[in-house]
Each structure stands twice: as C-alpha cells, then as structure tokens.
C-alpha cells in the first residue's frame, strides 16, 4: 500500500478528468477504478462518506476527496512540474478564477438540465453572462488559461473544452460562440490540442448519446 496511488473516478466526469490530467502532467503512475455513479462501490462510500462522490484519490491508503483539493494535494506531494505559479499574488489570481468556475458550475450545467423553451433561454442567458465575465476579465493573451504552460486553472476549466460542446450538441444551442467569445474559444481549442489533454479526453461522439440518455433520466427524475 505504501505510496500506492489509486483513483476512483468516472470516465464521463469533468471532475474525474481534472485529476487524471494532473496525474499525467506530473507523470505519477496510478491505478484507476471506474465507478458506476448509479451504483457506487462500498469502498467509495467508505472513502467519501460526506459527499459519496467521485473523484477520490487514495494515496498510501488515505483518501482525498473533491477534485480541486485533490489537485492541491497532488501539487504539494509531487512538487515537480508545479500546477500553480510560485508568486503568492499570481497564486491568488489563479485561485480566484478556479473558485469562480467552481461557484458557477451549476450555471454552466443549467442549459443541460433546463426543460421547456423559457427555462432553457433563461439558462442560456445565465451561461452567456458567465462566459462574458471570463472573456472580459479573466486570462491574458497566453496560450492557456493558466499562462504559457497548462496549470491548475486549465484543469479547472477543462469543462469548457469538452463538456460544453457536448451540452451544445445534446441540447441544440450554441454557447461558446467563437464570435462572441474569441479568446475563450481559442483557449478551449489550445487546451484540447495539448498532448496530455488530447490523449486523456473522453470522446465527443461517444459522449453525446450517453449524455442524451442521462439528460432524459434527470429530467424525468425532476418530474419535468
């Protein structure tokens, strides 16, 4: 068990993917346990009794929960190829935008879960507002969200690069429009093309039919 690294995840989850990307960027060997989110393993519930959610990283038998906390843990345990800048002010800025996307995550998934034209339109507008704030205020002219190299901010924003286009196709709305959000659109594209990410991204065409089914199930549960 000493120094063994194990990840309980789900291949369709952007939160899981954040951890996979971090482990790959750091070159840390790990064992992967695919969890069925509809029927979670007893071990997962044991490791994460509060949220009962993936991802959970288990290192030398100790569980760490919540994707961004796992990323901090990884960065502090294996400091080579740092995932955050060394300057405290730059770190604070990175953390600010990481917290922003964490806080806005329900908004960004709003369109996926909205039913009926009114709700969908409301959710679409809320999403565009978040994207507008990002386009105007976050990120400079560097290649990646986090700067010239992929860092923790990019991993936090990975949802924009793959899950958002899937939502767009499943629901049939445009969100990350290249004309409205040229900078964000380019950043998402650069992220998708980066070697470690490209090789560890779930496939768009495989995701779409599964997210269609998932959406129908969720709308049924919500009684919509």
């Amino acid at each position: 068990m000493a120094d063994q690294v194990k990840l309980h995840g789900n291949w369709l989850s952007p939160f899981s993917s954040r951890v996979i990307w971090a482990l790959k960027l750091k070159g840390i060997p790990y064992e992967y346990v695919e969890e069925n989110v509809a029927d979670k393993s007893a071990l997962l519930l044991h490791y994460n009794p509060v949220y009962k959610k993936i991802p959970v990283l288990v290192h030398s038998g100790k569980p760490i929960c919540e994707s961004m906390i796992i990323l901090d843990y990884i960065d502090e345990t294996w400091p080579e190829n740092p995932l955050l800048p060394s300057d405290p002010f730059e770190r604070a800025t990175a953390r600010f935008w990481i917290k922003f996307i964490e806080d806005k995550s329900p908004v960004l998934w709003g369109v996926f879960l909205a039913d009926g034209e009114d709700d969908r339109e409301k959710a679409r507008k809320a999403t565009l507002e978040v994207l507008q704030t990002l386009e105007e205020r976050a990120f400079g002219d560097e290649k990646f969200f986090g700067g010239d190299e992929i860092n923790m901010v990019d991993l936090a924003y990975g949802m924009l690069a793959r899950w958002m286009p899937v939502i767009e196709e499943v629901v049939g709305v445009k969100l990350l429009d290249p004309d409205m959000f040229p900078r964000l659109h380019a950043l998402a594209e650069n992220f998708r093309q980066a070697a470690v990410i490209r090789d560890n991204l779930p496939d768009h065409d495989q995701m779409v039919p599964l997210f269609k089914i998932r959406r129908e199930q969720l709308l049924q549960i919500a009684g919509k």
Copy 2:
C-alpha cells in the same frame, strides 16, 4: 504603497472577520477601511469588479478578493505562524472542511432568511443536518477546529461562534444546541475565548438589533 496592507471590510461580516483574525494572528500591521455594504466605495468596486464584495485585501497596491483566498495569500506571503498544517494529507483534510463550510454557508444562513413557520422549520432542519455532519465526522478532540492551535479551519468556522448565536436570538430558534452538538458547541466556545479572537469579535448585543433590521429589509426585498 510598498508593502502597505489595507483591508476593505465590514465589521458585521464573518468573511471580513476571517481576514482580520488572520492578520492579527500573523501580527501584520494593516490599515482598515470600513465599507458600507449598501453604498460601496468606488475603490472597492474597482478592486473587486466581479463580485463587488468585501473583504478585499490590498497589498502593495494589488487587490486580493474572496476571504479564503485572502487567507491562503496571507499564509503564503507571511509564513510565520502557519495557518495550515505542513503535511499534505492534513492540509487536504483542512481544505475539505473549509470547502464544506463554504459550500454550506447558504444553508447556515437559511434560518435567518426564512419567512413563515414552514420555511423556517425546513431551514432549521437543513442547518441541523449540516451541524450533525460536522459533529460526527469533522474535528477530533482537540481544543480548536484545526487542532491544538487556531488555524485556517477555525477562521473559516468563525461563523458558528458568533453569527449563529445572533441568528438564534434574532429568529428565536435554537440551532447549535449543546446537548445535540456537544463537541461543536465546545469548539465554538474555545474559539470565542482565544485571545486574538475575543479581542476581535463583533459584540453580540450590538449585532442583534442590527441583524433584526437587516433581516426585515431582506425579507421585504424578497417580497415576503
């Protein structure tokens, strides 16, 4: 401006108090700017255009927003008297419970904003559920939330020590019941008694009438 530390805050805000406590624990001299949350200064809006909220720490002219991000910044800029454990796993555990209280903050304020007996009862039950999770799963038998010394976890949980008793009195419900939550109750008491905290806590009796007025205003705005 070099190395000048300035805090834009509001004396009634637990988020502001977190930063004040951290600065005091570190022994960092700072200038304090009291903001009227109903009429924020142009400078505050300039420093925090995304959220337009206090607290904002300005260090050598650079603004840092969001209370827990400010605490990370303070801890990284002035490493003496560390606010987080040095072991990565213990840091992850601290961050887990910090994130928990951040996520649950709307629940913990739910009773304050609930109108009518049904809503209030629903909000009370939700709060007790959060407190139950904390009582059962978080924190050991140490004196403080964070261990034997006050650390970042305590500052995050400061709301329980002062604002929750104020909510209880304003609304007329018991939440942090010493019989139901003996451990949490003792931790809150120890926190209140710690020297730096005791000397930098807004006064309960001064707060109650102001929170009564604030509650009425907020309920009116909500059209209740």
